[in-house]
Structure formats: C-alpha cells, structure tokens
C-alpha cells in the first residue's frame, strides 16, 4: 500500500486494547513529510503505545494506518527498515565501543558493506565521536551516548526518525545542540516524530498532537494549542496548555 500523498505517517481510528483496558482510543492524525511533529502526553497517556504501533513493534487492535508508505498491520518489517527509532533509554550496547555499535546497526539494517566505511566516518563525524570510537560506550558521558544512539538510528538513511523522549536526563546546552541537529535533519527532508516532557522543547515542533487517556485532546501548531486550551489566560505558554489539557 505505497501511499502517493505527502504524508509520512497517516493513521485513522487507530485503537489498541490490552484486554478490557483501552490504551489508545481511536486516534486519527497525519504527519507531513519533512515536518517536526510533536506527540505529547503525560505518563500512561497512551503515548508510548502509539509510538510502538507506528514503529511496527506492536500490532494495533483496529483502525488503519501507513508509515513511510507501508501498512502498519501487514508490513511491520518494511516499516522498521525505513524508520530510525531512538528511545529514552539510549539502549545501546554499553560493553561495545561506539564503532562496534555502529557496525552492529549497519549489519542489522542490511546496509551494503561497500557503504560501511563511508557511513561509519559520516556518523562518527556527525556525532563527533571519532576520538572515542574504540572506548567502551558505558565510559562515555550521557550526552555522547545520546548522540551515538541518534547516529545509529540514522545509519540506513531512514525517511522518518522516531524520538521517544530523546533528551530526558540531558543538560540544557546538550539539548540545545541536539535540537539544532534535529532541525538540520528536518531540512534535509527527514520527518521527525518526537515525544517529550519538556514543553520548551515542544516549541521546536511545527505541529503538535496532545494525547490524554488514549484520546487526542488537542492538535495544531504550538500557538494554536495554547490559544485553544487557555483562551482567557494572558501570556499562557505550552506548559499551561499541557496542564489544562491533561487535567480533564
């Protein structure tokens, strides 16, 4: 089901139930190609379940959707091959060096060995980890590991990059660098789908969807969401909007 339109991700009435519990209740949204898309919600709001369904990890109960042109029910392997996924835990192999981690991802993404040398130097360059390529990953500072995880998720030049709370536990300066880099990627045409707890970060997104108890409670640009959620408050920011929307 190769989609022809301009949407990188498209879901309609997507639902996930675990027994009687409805984790995601018929959500509908779409993400345009090359856009930085924020997906916000409190813990347990169905945010992680949604991202896992989009990444081909979890099969939805009902609904329909495509990611990178592939059907989320029938083509999870094709989806995994065309997206990059980086989760909050920076789950790299810590007893492997950055170089060995990179080689692992190159193999798993089935990148042709003729491209390996070029991709390795590209990622080491981009993540500025060339000097520590043979140190053990666990010895590196958290911010560096985060860069490495991001680099690994990009090795196969994916169309879409999923970032699940990519910056938790990272200092503000590193976060700043991180977002500069994300914007750079988006300008190259890569679609960015990001979840975060930091509302100042959500400001970087072009469009945002907020989810609470499995249902979408707001959608639009950051400014639209603020004016919808807090019409009466002067100088309201995303934080206020988030708290208002999550209370209900």
């Amino acid at each position: 089901m190769q989609s022809t339109n301009n949407d990188a991700i498209q879901v309609q009435d997507l639902e996930k139930r675990f027994g009687k519990f409805v984790a995601v209740n018929k959500v509908t949204f779409s993400v345009r190609k090359g856009e930085i898309f924020g997906f916000l919600g409190s813990n347990g709001s169905g945010k992680s379940t949604t991202i896992r369904m989009l990444c081909g990890i979890l099969t939805p109960t009902s609904g329909q959707g495509t990611v990178a042109g592939y059907d989320i029910f029938r083509q999870p392997e094709e989806i995994k091959q065309s997206i990059g996924y980086m989760s909050q835990k920076f789950s790299l192999y810590e007893d492997l060096s950055p170089f060995e981690n990179i080689r692992f991802y190159l193999g798993i993404y089935n990148v042709s060995p003729t491209l390996w040398a070029e991709r390795i130097s590209w990622v080491l360059d981009m993540t500025q980890l060339g000097d520590v390529r043979d140190r053990l990953t666990r010895e590196l500072p958290q911010g560096w590991r985060q860069r490495l995880a991001l680099g690994c998720a990009l090795l196969h030049k994916p169309d879409i990059l999923f970032l699940d709370e990519p910056t938790s536990g990272v200092d503000p300066l590193t976060r700043q660098h991180f977002w500069d880099f994300i914007r750079q990627l988006a300008s190259q045409g890569i679609t960015i789908f990001v979840t975060t707890h930091y509302m100042d970060e959500a400001r970087h997104c072009e469009r945002i969807v907020m989810i609470n108890q499995g249902s979408i409670v707001a959608a639009g640009s950051p400014d639209e969401i603020i004016s919808q959620a807090c019409p009466d408050t002067q100088n309201a920011d995303l934080n206020d909007a988030f708290i208002t929307l999550m209370k209900n």
Binding site: R52, C55, G56, I57, L58, E77, K80, Q81, Y85, S87, K89, S91, L92, Y93, E94, D95, L96, E100, R103, F104, Y105, L106, G107, I108, Y109, N110, P113, L136
Partner: protein, 377 residues
Amino acid sequence: MNLRKIGAITRKEFYHLIRDYRSLYLAFAIPLILILLFGYALSLDVENVQTVIVDYDGTRQSRDLVRRLDASPYFQVVAYLKNSGEAADWLDHGWTTLALVIPPDWTRNIQADREAPLQVLIDGSDPNFANISAGYITAFLERENTRYLHNFLNRQGMEQMKPPLEGRIRIWFNEDLESRNFIVPGIIAVIIMIVGAMLTSLVIAREYENGTMETIRSLPISAGEFIIGKAIPYFFITLADVLIAVLMGQVLFGIVMKANFWLMITASSLYLAVAITLGLLISSATKSQLVANQISPLVTFLPSMLLSDFVFPVLNMPPVIQTITYIVPAKYFIDILKGIYMKNLDITYLWPNFAVLFVMAAILAVLNVIVLKREGM
C-alpha cells in the same frame, strides 16, 4: 533469513562474551572440573572391599580361607579382630564394609561333614555397594564350597567329577567393566547441557534487563535471525568444550572412541542445538537473569544427571518417571555416545536417536520464535 543480520548479532554476542570474561571462565572451567571430578572420584566399580576378620577357630584351615579371600582382587583384609564386638565397632565407625566371623569348631564341623556356617556382616548404608559386596562374598564362598565338595567326594573314593554346567562369560563392549568408560561419555552430555544451556539462558534475559530488547524490537530483524545469531558463538564455545572433554578422556583416562569421530561431532552438534535452544527459550520466557539462573539447572543439569540413564538405570524407575525420561534429551545423546564410545555402532543403528534430537531442537526453536513474536519481535 539474512546472513548479514545474523552475522551482526553473532559478532555483537561474541563481543559480550569476551568483555564479560566470567562467563568464558565458566565455559572452560566447568568441563575441566567435571571431567576431573567425575573421572577420578565417581567410580562405580567395587574393588578391594575393606574386610575385617574375626577368627574364633584359629586353625590352619581357617587361616587358609582368609588368605585366599585376601588374595582375591575384590577383598582386602584390613584387620584381624579378637571378637564380634570389635567387628561391630569397626562397622559402626565405618572403618570397614565387611566383617567375616569364623566361629569356633568351624574346621571340626567341616571335617565331621556337618554344616559349617560363617557369619558375614555387611555395612548396608550404601545399598549398591553392599549388594555388590554380598555378591562377591557369595561367589567366593560358592567356590570354597565346590572345593570342599570335591574333597569330600574324593575322600569317599569317587573319581574327580566336573559339574556339567558352566557359563563361559564374555563381556562385550566394555571388556574390563570399567565404569569410567561410560562415565566420561555421560559427563560430556552433562557438560554440553550445563555450558550450552546455562550460558545461553542469560543472553536474552540480559537484553530485557538492559533495555536493549526494546531496541531489538524496533530493528528490522526477525526472531529466527535473532536466535540463530545468538546461538552461533555459544555453539562453537560448547563444541570446543566437547573436544576438550574428548581429549581429556583420552589423555587422562585412556578412553578411546571406537566409532567415527565425525559421527560423534555430528551427534554433539545436534545435542548442542537442543541445549542452546532450550537455554534461549528459558531466557526469553523468564526475561530475568536471576530467574533463568535458578530454573536452568532444574531443567538442564538435573534431568541430564538423574533421568538420562547416565548414573541411575531408567529401567529401575517407576513407570511415571520412566515416561518422563523420554523427553530428556540427554537420554538420547548418552545412548548415542555409548554406541559410539563402546559399541562402535554406525548411523544405521543410531539414526533414531539423531532424529529425536533434531526434532527436539526444531520444536524448541519454533517455541522460541513464538515466545519472541508474542513479545513484539
């Protein structure tokens, strides 16, 4: 199945192994220790039964009897005691296994052609050992009886007669009846189970505990590729263990394989595949290294020791347990090893066991894939 993806997993797993060298120590120390321990210590042969003598008779004839007993390879007289009380004391302390009490007037009774009983006391706290000792002493006394019978007949003026029945016994396959000859093959089966299954029972659980399972789930790799990639390094490590065990058996104990070496390697590889897929299944089902570590000896080591016909004969077990032994992979492998090591059998005899091991590995692999798929792989 994509070889590049499998190779990536294998390479990564290999790095884990060399970085966490404790598991490598385990992989190579276990076979060395087990072979030495079992090869030297676990001997089921009974020789030199420790014997004490209480000779109330004190004649030349009674002393001759004791001399002949001592000369047999099965008995070793360790003390001559004054009375039965002392003999009981020795048995109580465990200083001896057998006491032979020759009553007063024993010689005179024989000469008068009367019954001449001897008292034999055996320490039954190790029933197997006691049984064998009782068998030895019975056989010994039987021979003595024959001799007295001949003497008696001669004295009666009859000519030397030969008893008509005589079993001409020839032991096949393990001519010297050395228990070590089947203990070492058996221990190979236990080593493969321990190393192959216990080490691999940690590797998927470790991915869950480190959070890297989430990464694996998000990557384009199938459960089958994942399992094969993980199995390969452990396959070769355990195969190296098999070679070490075979070599040690040969060098230290002179146990030489009678059949084809490659048949042995093929059998080991199949059995290894069972061990590794079992370990990986434990790992993906428990998702915890601690739990896996506690479960794996229960389902790998113990059945291989107890229910495999290795130390304890399955035929002597109650029917329910005998039925259970049919699902113990070690049973089939030990059967193959006995055939290869002692009977020089070839594949035409052994193929059913090969087939069972192959099917077991296949079933375990499929279960593994099902479990991982259910976890979102």
